[in-house]
Amino acid sequence: MLIKVNINGKDYEKDVAPYKNLLYFLREDCGLTGTKEGCGAGECGACTVIMNGKTVNSCLVLAVEANGAKIETIEGEAVNGKLSKIQEAFKKHHAVQCGFCTPGMIMSVKALLRKNKKPKEEEIKEAIDGNLCRCTGYKQIIEAVQDITGQLKKEEEIIYV
């Protein structure tokens, strides 16, 4: 089936199998491998992308459902070789360890900050609660978002005794 999708501002027109999900369409047909598969069942959020302004688990969306949609993925986040504010903050706060959940996590944060310029800690947690991270324990990710929005009261640090 022929579909037309706008991904990160660029139009793609491709023939896809009706059973193919958006995740595999992005990874296999468009070469956008930044979006990861962690479970294939909509449980882990590693494949989170923004579709028409809302985050979706791209493993649960059929590619054909995305016909005519505007999709944002991690590949569109840095512009002209320059990291976005979210990416810079993730870097600064060590909000990244193995990095496998990071693309999906950043997309969830992006969608949150678009509709909520000053999210409370609880709102940040809720926005990323569908994105599982096994490495960081989430704190540094939350702090990165608080830093972007000018809400980080003090830098959380290791205490020396």
């Binding site: 956008l32 993730f90 989430y138």
Partner: protein, 786 residues
């Protein structure tokens, strides 16, 4: 090395530095094995057993083979290779019998994953179901069926392990210290209890994946998500009898490991499929469901502890029996048994100790290394037991721990003497006790109780762990200087998310006196191009690779100074550098730039000297020994990292509902190399420990079928579940650690579970002996108390 250098003399060591792999990871450009597509690549899927124990009567692959797009179908009958790390006990594909639910019995390589899955569905397997062995204690009965009747014929590391053929015991580790009978006679009280925990899944966000290519004349290429490329190569070579130099293992970015990607995994099957498919590369990536049962998990444990104690609180004797349920295979689990055996009393001195640790085969998914390497599991028993005994003798549990803690002059279970430089577990305990206001409720906490009707409980637990590794474990670092005087570090240890490469770059920059921007670490691992590293496990990276990094930097500078000395007509001892140029200490204007000598120096007339500057650093663990197989005595520990958690919980003492409010965690890391990396390990490890403590674990039906192989039914912590976590560093320098540092990768996860259980008991009196602690378990324990 350099353990006593003062903090203010250091430019990079001890400082915040951004992760050097962050750019690639935040942009999604970091390539993981699953992202790779090679020309002609085929996709593999496996047929898995629906039974825990069954005879394979016949397998019909005809329909699968006939499916267009299928290149080959493999069954165990065609393969005669056993694979394993310490005990070689597992076929690449099950032969004749299946030993656990989810075990691979056949595999397909096809042009697309969809075709491969269709073909798998067309494979017909006829089984004769057998009664499975599911209880690891009953598995020791004389008349229990044998999971491995051929155990006596298996190869294993004989100097270290003791399988017992004719039983289900894959290994029996013994430890005898002092006189146990005399100890119990001296005791005023003797208590005995049993503690249990189930299988747990590592859950790296990236599932296991391997691309194998078996070319004519046994030339093998492997791309894999493995933590330990050299061990993959080594075990592959051993099982298939192929020279190491025929096998190349490449590891791109790794999406988390936690021990589950140590040893060897899917690589042999992917390669065997490739061989049958004419050498085309074959990618085999586990689904999340397969991650739970095709691939290994953490062994379950039944831990029986008998403690003899004096009225004054001093433990005088402890008998410990560990029944490790390693499931169907134990190639790696035998070493979990060994390591937990030699440190199984926790960070406490036991003058008279007797420990038996059994690795036991059952018909469940098999156990392997998992962050903490047995210590998470046994610490549940030990730390619950410490509180139990303290309570019985009417002593504060923290005081009881401090009385019995390993201190300078103490002797460990294996006979090692603890010194001032080993680390300070008492300081860790005191630090966390202070941070949680141990032993009292703050005004705020009293208000909380009043407002919510919940009861607040507090606990302090302690932990220790040494790297579990062969006594001669070694590693290497190679530094290459580029034409402009920048440096590429080739570190044989893998970066699996822990941040080792960033910390090692800091050490290298410090030693070279170079700006850290001039040091880049090559992220991919490649056994053809790197030196050697045993495995990326055991929290040994910072000590071994840290020392190798120092030595590589010194070697690079020595070679550079030797060339500069000729040019400057000076003695190398009179030279120094500022990161850009080498100069005479007493005539700083007499200098030569690194960029002039990086790949060979050219005199004005064209004559050349020197050549590419390459620094090599190798480091091998020193002074360690195998343990005596009868007594467990010897020196197994490269270093001991001590730690402690202070835990605050709030419990509803009617319903059993509870919440962890706060955890303070302290570790004697020797020296902090990068405070953000340390905090990353502490917070991440504590949260993983909380998952193990509260919600994770395998659930089987009565026939050994795994019921919860998904995130729906096996929950891990989300952002909403995380309490306040305070990370604390104690710095007692490790003499043979790089700048005095010790590893802390695994430790934050250890003993969290005991801390939560003890705090719950402190709050409401619920006596828990099984982990994970679900809310209904607390309710049940409360009913028992009534």
């Amino acid at each position: 090395m350099f353990e006593n250098v003062k903090k203010d003399e250091l430019k990079y060591v001890g400082k915040k530095v951004e992760r050097l792999d962050a750019d690639e990871k935040v942009t999604g450009s970091a390539l993981y094995t699953g992202d790779l597509v090679l020309p002609g690549m085929l996709y593999a899927k496996v047929k898995r057993s629906p039974y825990a124990r069954a005879k394979i009567v016949r397998i019909n692959t005809k329909k699968a083979e006939a499916l267009p797009g299928v290149h080959c179908v493999l069954t165990g009958a065609e393969l005669n290779y056993r694979v394993g790390l310490y005990l070689v006990d597992k076929y690449v594909l099950a032969k004749d019998v299946v030993r656990h639910f989810g075990e691979a019995v056949a595999a397909v390589a096809a042009e697309t994953p969809v075709i491969a899955q269709k073909a798998v569905d067309l494979i017909e397997v006829e089984y004769e179901e057998l009664e499975p062995v599911l209880d690891c204690v009953k598995a020791l009965d004389k008349n229990a069926p044998l999971v491995h009747p051929d155990l006596g014929t298996y190869e294993y590391v004989q100097a270290v392990f003791t399988p017992v053929p004719g039983t289900n015991i894959a290994n029996h580790t013994k430890l005898r210290k002092g006189d146990i009978e005399k100890g119990f006679k001296e005791a005023d009280f003797v208590f005995e209890r049993t503690y249990k925990n189930p299988n747990v899944q590592h859950v790296p966000m990236e599932t296991h994946v391997a691309i194998g290519q078996w070319l004519p004349n046994d030339k093998i290429n492997i791309w894999t998500s493995a933590q330990s490329p050299f061990t993959v190569r080594n075990l592959f070579a051993y099982s298939f009898k192929i020279p190491r130099n025929n096998i190349r293992v490449i590891v791109p970015y790794i999406g988390g490991g936690f021990g589950g990607k140590a040893g060897i995994g899917l690589e042999p099957l992917a390669c065997c499929l490739s061989r049958k498919a004419g050498g085309r590369p074959v990618k085999l990536q586990a689904t999340r469901e397969e991650e739970f049962s095709l691939l290994p998990c953490r062994s379950a444990l039944v831990y029986k502890i008998k403690t003899g104690v004096k009225k004054d609180g001093k433990i005088v004797a402890q008998q410990m029996t560990m029944y490790w349920d390693s499931g169907a295979y134990a190639d790696y689990a035998v070493n979990v048994t060994r390591a937990s055996g030699y440190s199984g009393a926790g960070p406490y001195e036991i003058p008279n100790a007797w420990l038996d640790a059994y690795t036991i085969y059952t018909n469940k998914p098999f156990g392997t290394a998992y962050r903490g390497f047995g210590h998470v599991e046994f610490s549940w028993g030990i730390e619950r037991n410490m509180d139990y005994v303290a309570k019985q003798i009417n002593m504060d549990p923290l005081k009881f721990r401090i009385i019995n803690a390993l201190k300078p002059g103490s002797i460990t279970l294996t006979g090692e003497h603890i010194t001032e430089n080993t680390g300070n577990v008492v300081k860790c305990m005191e630090a966390v006790a202070e941070k949680i206001n141990y032993g009292k409720l703050t005004a705020e906490e009293k208000q909380y109780e009043k407002r919510t009707g919940m009861k607040i409980g507090k606990s302090v637990v302690a932990l220790h762990k040494a790297p579990a590794m062969p006594p001669f474990t070694a590693t290497s670092v190679i530094l290459k200087m580029n034409e402009d005087g920048t440096v590429i570090a080739n570190i044989a240890l893998s970066e699996i998310g822990q941040g080792a490469y960033t910390a090692l770059a800091q050490i290298i920059a410090e030693q070279l006196k170079f700006p850290i921007e001039k040091v880049r670490v090559s992220i991919d691992s490649d056994t053809d191009k790197e030196g050697y590293d045993w495995q990326t496990v055991a929290s040994k990276g910072l000590i071994l690779s840290g020392n190798a990094a120092i030595l590589a930097a010194q070697d690079l500078l020595k070679k550079a100074y030797n060339v500069a000395a000729q040019i400057l007509r000076a003695n190398p001892v009179d030279l120094d550098n500022d990161g850009e140029k080498i100069f005479l200490k007493h005539h700083k204007d007499k200098c030569v730039y690194f960029s002039q000598i990086a790949v060979g120096y050219s005199y004005p007339d064209g004559n050349g000297i020197g050549g590419p500057l390459i620094g090599v650093g190798v480091y091998c663990a020193q002074g360690l020994t195998n343990l005596n197989k009868e007594t467990g005595q010897g020196l197994p520990a490269l270093d001991w990292t001590y730690g402690a958690h202070g835990v605050v919980v709030a419990v509803n003492s009617y319903t059993g509902e509870f919440e962890v409010l706060k955890i303070a965690s302290a570790f004697d890391v020797g020296r902090v190399i990068n405070p953000q990396c340390v905090r990353g390990q502490v917070v991440g490890g504590v949260v993983q420990g909380l998952g193990t403590a509260m919600c994770e674990g395998y659930i089987y039906d009565g026939k050994g079928k795994l019921l919860n192989p998904s995130f729906t039914d096996n929950k891990i912590f989300t952002s909403l579940d995380v309490p306040e976590i305070i990370g604390i560093a104690v710095e007692t320098p490790q003499i043979d650690g790089a700048y005095g540092a010790r590893g802390v990768g695994e430790h934050p996860m250890i003993a969290v579970c005991g801390g939560v259980g003890n705090a719950i008991e402190n709050a409401c009196g619920a006596d828990l002996t099984y982990m994970p602690i679900r809310q209904e378990d607390v309710w049940r324990a409360l009913q028992k108390k009534k």
